[in-house]
Amino acid sequence: MSSHAAPTGFQQQGQRLCHRDDVAEGEARGFGPLEGSKRKVIVVRRNGALHAWLDACPHYSTGTPMAWKTDAYLNGERTHLTCHSHHALFEMDTGQCILGPCLGQSLTRIEIAVGEAGDVFVVAPCEGGVA
C-alpha cells in the first residue's frame, strides 16, 4: 500500500481502538495505527459524543501526523483539533478546518461503534458521532 493516509476499508473494520472511558470530555488521544494503515486514529469526545479522525492533516496529499507530542492534538485553548505542522485548526465534531493552510478541507472521519463492554471499534461508514 503506497498511500500514507489510506482511508479505512474492510481491513480496518472490527479493529478495537480504545475503551470509551479512555477519552474524557474535551480530550483527544491517538490510537493505533490500525493494521493496514500507517496513521493513528484520533479519538475525541465533544459534548459527550465520541468522534474518530484519521491522524492525517489534509494539507499534503499523503496526509501528515498532527500531534506535536504523543496525544497532544489540541490547540492551547483546547478548543480545536490542531495540526502542529502549521497550526491548522479543525472542529472536533465535524473535522472541518476553520483556520490554517487547509482552510475549507476536512479530516477523514473514521466510523466507530461502542460495544456492550464499552470498547470502541471501527465499523463500516455511517453518520455522526456515538454516545
Binding site: T64, P65, M66, A67, W68, K69, T70, A72, N75, G76, E77, C83, H84, S85, H86, H87, A88, L89, L99, G100, P101, L103
Partner: protein
C-alpha cells in the same frame, strides 16, 4: 550591510507551558524564563523567545494562524544598523530603540529587528570521520559515538517563510538588505544568504496563498549528521512527532530532520551545510521530492539480527 543572520525568532504562543517543555526538550537552554516566557538559547546565544500571544510587549501578530511575531537579525556593528536605517527609512517607518537596535516591517508585513549580533564565537570540533585514503580525523582509541554523547543545537541556522509573492520578498531582502540568492527551487522559491554569512542559506521562501503567510520552519545547526540523528532519536523517544527525515537535502547539502511543534511551525535539526562565496552561480531545479533530497530515511525502533532463528536447537 553586514547582516550575519537570525539572532532570535520571537513567537506569541497559545500555551506557554507546552512551548517551554518543547524548547527545553529540543536542547535549548532557558535563560531568565518565567511563567511569562523568555529566551531559549543555543550554544552560541542565538535562539527562540516566547511570550503568551496576549502579551502586550509582543509585536502585533500576522493576520494568519501563524505564531511568529518577529525575526531579530544580528549585524556586525552599529554602522550596519545606521546603513539599514538609512536604506529602509527611504520608504517606511524605522523605529530606533534605546539600545540602538532598529525595528521595521518587510514588504509582506513581517516584523523585523536588527541589532549588533549577540552571537558568541564557538570553539568546538565538528563531527570527525575516518575514511580510507584520507588522514584519520579521530586519533587512535578516540571513539565516534557513545550513549551519553552531547547533541545540542549550536546555533540558529535559518528561517523559512511562507510568502504570497516571491518577487516582492526577494527584492526586499536582496535589493534593500544585500542578501544573495544561492539556489532556486522553481515553484517554491529562492535560498538566500546575507552578506556576512557564508552558509548556503539563512532564509528560504515558499510561495503560498496569503492566508498561510508565516514561518514554515526554523532550523538549528548541529555538530554533524551523527549529532543530528542522535538528537532526533532522543526527541522521538520522548514522544515528540517527526515530520520529515532524517535525510540530506540536495541544495545546501545539509542533513535534515523536521519535527512538529506547539509553536505553529516545524523545528529542524540540520548539519553540514555548504558554504559559498560571491563566485558561486545559483542553480535552479523544479520543486519536488527528487530535488528536495538525495536520501530520505524514517526512524524505526531499534532492532538487531541474531545468529540462529528463534527456537533453533543447539
Amino acid at each position: 550591510m553586514n547582516i550575519v543572520g537570525p539572532d532570535y525568532l520571537v513567537f506569541g504562543v497559545d500555551d506557554l507551558a507546552d512551548a517551554i517543555e518543547y524548547l527545553t526538550a529540543w536542547g535549548l537552554k532557558p535563560v531568565d524564563v518565567t511563567d511569562r516566557g523568555g529566551l531559549f538559547e543555543t550554544l552560541d546565544g542565538t535562539g527562540v523567545i516566547i511570550r503568551h500571544k496576549s502579551d502586550p510587549s509582543l509585536p502585533p501578530p500576522l493576520p494568519t494562524s501563524n505564531m511568529l511575531r518577529q525575526q531579530v537579525y544580528g549585524v556586525r556593528s552599529a554602522a550596519d544598523l545606521d546603513a539599514i536605517e538609512a536604506e529602509l527609512g527611504k520608504d517606511r517607518r524605522v523605529t530606533r530603540l534605546s539600545n540602538g537596535s532598529i525595528e521595521v516591517k518587510d514588504d509582506h508585513g513581517f516584523e523585523l529587528k536588527f541589532q549588533v549580533t549577540i552571537r558568541r564565537e564557538l570553539d568546538m570540533p565538528a563531527e570527525k570521520i575516518n575514511a580510507p585514503g584520507a588522514p584519520a580525523q579521530r586519533k587512535p582509541n578516540e571513539i565516534g559515538v557513545w550513549e551519553e554523547m552531547p547533541a545540542l543545537p549550536r546555533t540558529l541556522s535559518h528561517v523559512v517563510l511562507f510568502v504570497p509573492d516571491i518577487e516582492i520578498a526577494t527584492n526586499f531582502y536582496c535589493s534593500r538588505l544585500g542578501f544573495v540568492i544561492t539556489d532556486v527551487l522553481k515553484g517554491a522559491g529562492p535560498f538566500l544568504r546575507p552578506k556576512a554569512n557564508d552558509d548556503h542559506h539563512t532564509l528560504f521562501f515558499i510561495r503560498t496563498p496569503d492566508y498561510m503567510k508565516g514561518c514554515e520552519h526554523l532550523a538549528f545547526h548541529m555538530g554533524g549528521p551523527t549529532e543530528l540523528m542522535v538528537a532526533g532519536t532522543r526527541f522521538v523517544k520522548k514522544g515528540y512527532q517527526s515530520f520529515w527525515g532524517p535525510g540530506r537535502h540536495k541544495f545546501g547539502s545539509n542533513w535534515f530532520w523536521y519535527f512538529n511543534s506547539p509553536l505553529g511551525c516545524h523545528f529542524e535539526y540540520d548539519a553540514d551545510m555548504d558554504k559559498h562565496d560571491d563566485s558561486w552561480v545559483a542553480r535552479e531545479a523544479p520543486m519536488g521530492a527528487e530535488s528536495s533530497q538525495i536520501v530520505l530515511f524514517e526512524m524505526r525502533e531499534k532492532w538487531a539480527p541474531g545468529g540462529p532463528p528463534p527456537g533453533a536447537k543447539g
